[in-house]
Symmetry: C2
Subunit: 376 residues, 2 copies
Amino acid sequence: MSATPPTSLPAAPLTYEQAGVNYDLIDPLKVAAQRAAAATGANLAAHGFGEVVASRGESAYVVDIGPMYLASIVECLGTKTLVADEMARLTGTSRYDAIAQDTIAMAVNDLITVGATPLVVQAYWAAGGSDWFGDAARAQALVAGWKKACDTCGVAWGGGETPALAGIVADGRVDLAASCTGIVSPKSRLSLGEHLGAGDAIVFLASSGIHANGLSLARKLAERLPKGYLTDIGNGQTFGDALLAPTALYSPVTEALAAAGIVPHYSANITGHGWRKLMRHPHTLSYRITAVPDKTPVLAFMQRECGLDDHEAYGTLNMGAGFALYLKAADADRAVAIARGLGVDAIIAGHVEAGPKRVLIDPLGVTFGGDELQLR
Amino acid sequence: MSATPPTSLPAAPLTYEQAGVNYDLIDPLKVAAQRAAAATGANLAAHGFGEVVASRGESAYVVDIGPMYLASIVECLGTKTLVADEMARLTGTSRYDAIAQDTIAMAVNDLITVGATPLVVQAYWAAGGSDWFGDAARAQALVAGWKKACDTCGVAWGGGETPALAGIVADGRVDLAASCTGIVSPKSRLSLGEHLGAGDAIVFLASSGIHANGLSLARKLAERLPKGYLTDIGNGQTFGDALLAPTALYSPVTEALAAAGIVPHYSANITGHGWRKLMRHPHTLSYRITAVPDKTPVLAFMQRECGLDDHEAYGTLNMGAGFALYLKAADADRAVAIARGLGVDAIIAGHVEAGPKRVLIDPLGVTFGGDELQLR
C-alpha cells in the first residue's frame, strides 16, 4: 500500500478478474483452435516448405521458406478505443493518432520477438456503421498516427479493410486490429529460445505507460473515481491522458541490435499477464529480477487506486517494463546502450537461472510460480 | 424480369444503396488512408527491399524480398454472421463451419489474384463478450470449418486472436476476419496485369452462391419476405440455407494452373460491385462477355424478389461467376479443363478488346462504363 492518500473513497480492491473477461469461457475454444491449427502445419510440405514448430505458442508464427523465415501475426487492439472515445467526449480532442500507434505496436512488438524484421502492416478498421468514418478529425488522426507508426518501424502500410459492420460492431465504435508480416533474415536471427539458458541477462525496455493491456481494469477504475478520467494522477496529467500515451514501438531497437551483431536468445513482449510473461518460454528455468524499473506514473496510480498488491500489479500490468530481451550476459551492456541511444530507456534487470519455472522479483519479494501462467 | 411469380407481395425494388452502407462517408477516409499508405512504401528501402508499386490498389499488397515476392492481406467477412445467427435461432443448427470457410475465402481468393501461393492464415475472431465463446457447438463448428478450409487451400493456420470486446462488438455477435500471407515464387508468377491486353480470354470460375458480398441486401430482403429466411427459393432449399453455402475456395485452381505452366495475365475476385470488378485493372480496355454462366439459384431468387434489372444485379452480385482469369487465349481451354478436374465449374466467358474501359455483357445487353467502378 502507498502512503499517498487515495483520490477516491476507500473501496474494495479492484482486480482484473472483476473487470470483465472470463477466460474460462474462451479457453476451451482456444485450446481446440490451437490443436486444429497445429495439425495444419503439415500443409506446407506440399509447397516444399515447413513450419518452425517451436514458433507454435510463441508470439508470431514462423515458416521456413528456404532462404529466409517468414513471420506473421494478427493482433487486436482491445478496448482502449473506449477510453479514447470517452476522452474525446470530455475534452473535444481525438487521440486516435495514439490509438493507431497502439494497434500497430500490438502487432509489431509481438512479431519482433521471434527475430523478425517487420515489413508490412495491414490495417483492420471495422466500424459500427458508415457514420463512424464521417468524423473527419478522428479519421485524420487515425490515418496520421497509423502512417507515423509505420514510418517509425520502417514498415510499409500495405492496405487494409475499412468495413462498416452495423449490427456487429456497436454503433459509434470501431474494432481495430493490425496484421504484420516480416522475415527473419539472415536465418541466424531466429530467436525462439533454443539457446535461452542459465546465465543469460534479462534487459528491460521501458514502457511508455499502460500500453494496450489492462484497459478493462482502467475503465472500471475510472467509473469509481469521482472525477473519472479527468482525475489528476499526481503529476498534473489526467488519468485519461496518461492512459492514452501511445504504446512504445520496439522494432527500431531490435533492428539496431541485429545491425550491431547482437541476436537475443529470446524476447518477450510484456502485455497481458504482466511480468508473468517473463516465463513464457516452455523451458524450465527461473528468471530472477534484481532491478525493478520505475513504474510509469499511470501504473503507479492504478496500483494505488485499485488497491493492488505487488503480486497482482506485476502479474497484470507492465509496471514500467514493456519488453524483455534475454541475451548473452556479455551483450547486455551494449544492448542497453543501443536502446538508450534510440531514446528507449533500458536496464539490466536480472538474469536467467537453473531452477523451477518461476519469476522472482527480489526487490519486491514477489514470486510467480510456473502454474501462474497458462498460455499454451 | 422473370415470369416466376414472386413469393412476396409486389413492392418497390430493393437496391443495394438502400441496404445500409454509405460509401460517401467511408470514401474520404479510404482515400486519405491510401495516400498515406502509398507514402510508406519507401520505408522498405532501408531493409534493401521495395514494394511492387503496381500492387497498390490491387487485391493484395506485394513486396519484392529478393528471391521471391511476399504478398499479404487482411480481409473482413462482413455481415454474413448475422444470417448464420438468425438461421441458428430458427433451425437450431450452427453453420459457423461454413462461415469460417467464407472468412478464409475472402482473404485467400484475394491473395491469389496477384499470383501468390497462400501459405499462412491467421484468425481474427472478436466477440462481443466472453459468453460468445461458451456456445460449444458453434465454437466447434467455427474451428472445424476453419481447419478444413485451411486444408483445402494448403495453408498453415498460424494462430490468431480471440478477443472478447464487450462494448465494441455487439453482445452476442462476432467480428470475423482473416489475414493471409503468401509468396509469389517463381517471381514469373506475378500477375498484376502487365501483360493484360486485347485478345486475352476471360475464364470464369463458378461461384457457390452469394459468397460473402451482398448480404446487406439479402438481409433486407429476408425482412420483407413473409417467411423470411425460411422461404423456399424454388428448389426446396430455404433462402437462409442457400445464403449460407460456403464461398468457393479458388486457390487449388490457381495452384494447379501454375503447376501446368499457365500464368494468368490478371485475375479478379468477383466480390462487391459484382461484374463491374471485371474492369478493375487500371488499363484502358474493354471486357466483352459472350457467355453468361448459370445464376446460382439463390442469386436468381434475389434478383427476382428484389426486382433488380440485369444492370443492377450483375453490377452488385457475382451472378454465378466467382472469379475471373484473364489468360492467353491459347491457354483458355486447358484452364477450363484444369478447374473442372478439381470440381470447380468453369467457362470461357469472353475476351479482352481494345477500346474504352467498360464491361459488355452481350447476351444480356448490359454495359458497365468505366465511371461505374471507382476503386482507387
